[in-house]
Subunit: 384 residues, 2 copies
């Protein structure tokens, strides 16, 4: 049920005509209250799309009535005309819902540097408004897809009487900070916007921020959390945090599994690091090493490429006291070969890399994909 | 004539038996003096191969009598046994040449984590010594090749009576700091080791260090410069610097052109930067963006991916005052589309990207390749 799993939300997904395929390309999610609390995190890319610039202003007061999202165009590097399109979209949503445009978030995804067709977009808002319903979460999730092969959705109902659910899109450009992803999570718990903000930052830090499919960071990423309070239940901060983090991790791993052209999902667990930051830096360096990623595609347990990637980081370690396991096989111990690499079975889609830095008690896991012929095809054969 | 172009050097390339293909796999280059001056720069990867650890000790006093290089194995992460193999190789060269092992550099290239066959290596040294000649520069250049499709060589003769020449290997893992490259440059100019060191660092900073084929840095990189003084000529520092930089740039561009599976050579020129470091950072970020590299492979002038890569740097710029040209076509000006991307002809191998940050007077060019099916094949189909 995605964004309409929690009470107090309606949604719609329509074909506004932005995608030539005829698929759904505009989603609207409306918070019917009684609360209008919200929080959002944005791409840290300094080149930001017009909807990001707009949405940062909207979220400043923690009040959001609705969010409108389009696929079929990023509205990034489109100049004043592009910003006016974002603004007009928010105004149109405000008009049909009779709310303030300053309470309407806008997200876009697609090709950079091309103008969106404003008329189609505004007509799409009208059409979406006409079919808003409490059952349309799946349609909304369909409407934000670009090269995704499946919609990403998750939900949870607490025994204490509140619920949370979400939708996500993103199949490439998955990267640090945030992956090209648009995520909308809704809850009917009674949580104020400051608490939502804390919880969302904490959850994204260990979920979406640990996804690094291809090292490329988008200009359009946004993760939004909205609370309606419609359940009347105020969960404890820890209960809410746990549920939110679980939803984020579920959506993040769905993004990973659907990453463009990938044939392996790789979890790089860095243990015994001197700090969490060290563990993240080492994991990310390995996740971005094209030679390592190509080796995994070839089912080759080439642990030398892992150590070469570890060696370019500034993390604390002794280069000759690092241990590497691949899918449970100890392939290198203390700077020397251990078990033969041929013992590693890399035929399953799931790959577990474990790197012990033997420098402290901290750990972190970074998730990535392999580098495949299909990745190159998908990213060279057409613009996206 | 590569490393035997300058007077005072002999060389040999032999098949020691390390490569199963039967190709040449061991090179020996001997400085016959009267000078034994030398300088070297090494990978900045903290995971360093045994020959790197050895050679750093050898170069400390600026005196080098000979350098021995093998392909067919990196001798990296091979523990004490591997270091003893490097040491034994230097001792063997010292024995046959009647010099000190402390004046013998060792380089290795190939797969990480496997022991070299010490007996074959030492017999190879004996065989190479037996055929040392002033004509064997090309054989030596052949013997250091791994996945290279051609040997990389360059030479120059000064009208003032001195000469310089070199050889290089490297076809993948080309990266910052240094690419997996072994480079040996020889000169018969009279230059002391301190001046060689200054000149080499200055030359590599703007040549090999600006090559970033796939963002991956090797554990075995070494660039060595040796001076015999056999010409009796002491060139001015600027004349020597210019000739050395030209040789380094020639070899660097040969490495680029032969990079594994590439179909485009891409020069990313960053101009009007607030500092040279900013220009380098921006160029390198674009050079490492897999989505941009895949787009170039697909002959798609996808400038949005360039700006997205610029946006993750810390360089000084206004995101909406950046200009991008691709092969001479102005595709984006000040955050807006300019000429249609379809006007860009990306069919030639050479691609020129020009990014103006409009923030200052500095510039730098980073050289990279596209991301191709063939790159994935070469790096997944077998271990290297």
């Amino acid at each position: 049920m995605t964004v309409t799993h929690a009470k107090g939300f309606t949604a719609a997904g329509v074909h506004a005509g932005l995608k030539k395929s005829g698929n759904l390309d505009l989603a609207l999610v409306v918070n019917q209250g009684p609360l209008n609390a919200a929080a959002a995190v944005f791409t840290t890319n300094r080149c930001q799309a017009n909807p990001i610039i707009w949405s940062k202003q909207v979220i400043a007061d923690g009040q959001v009535a609705a969010i409108v999202l389009n696929s079929g165009g990023a509205n990034c590097y489109t100049g004043p005309q592009g910003f006016q399109t974002t603004h007009a979209t928010a105004e149109k949503v405000a008009e049909v819902l009779e709310v303030s445009a300053g309470d309407v978030l806008v997200c876009s995804t697609g090709l950079i540097g091309e103008q969106l067709d404003r008329e189609k977009l505004l007509n799409g808002v009208t059409a979406a408004h006409a079919i808003l319903s409490q059952d349309a979460g799946p349609s909304a999730a369909q409407a934000i897809m670009t090269t995704d092969s499946v919609a990403k959705v998750a939900h949870h109902t607490s025994p204490s009487g509140w619920a949370i659910g979400g939708m996500a899109k993103g199949a490439g450009m998955l990267a640090p900070g945030l992956a090209t992803m648009l995520v909308v999570i809704t809850t009917d718990a009674v949580v104020d916007s400051d608490a939502l903000d804390r919880a969302l930052r904490s959850a994204t830090r260990v979920s979406f921020d640990r996804l690094d499919s291809d090292g490329c960071m988008s200009t359009n990423d946004q993760v939004t959390l909205m609370a309606s309070g419609a359940s009347g239940v105020s969960p404890s901060e820890s209960e809410f945090q746990t549920a939110l983090t679980d939803i984020c991790m579920s959506l993040a791993l769905q993004l990973l599994r659907d990453a463009e052209g990938s044939s392996h999902d790789i979890a790089i667990e860095v243990v015994n690091a001197a700090s969490e930051a060290d563990a993240v830096e080492v994991g990310r360096s390995v996740a971005r090493n094209n030679l390592f990623k190509a080796a995994i595609y070839g089912n080759d347990a080439n642990w030398g490429r892992i150590l070469a990637a570890v060696g370019v980081t500034s993390a604390e370690f002794d280069p000759y006291d690092i241990d590497v396991d691949i899918n449970g096989v100890s392939v290198s111990r203390k700077g020397q070969p251990d078990q033969p690499r041929e013992l590693v079975d890399l035929t399953p889609r799931e790959v577990a890399i474990k790197i012990s830095l033997n420098a402290g008690p901290y750990s972190a896991t970074i998730y990535t994909n392999d580098l495949t012929h299909e990745y190159v095809t998908e990213n060279s054969a057409y613009s996206s």
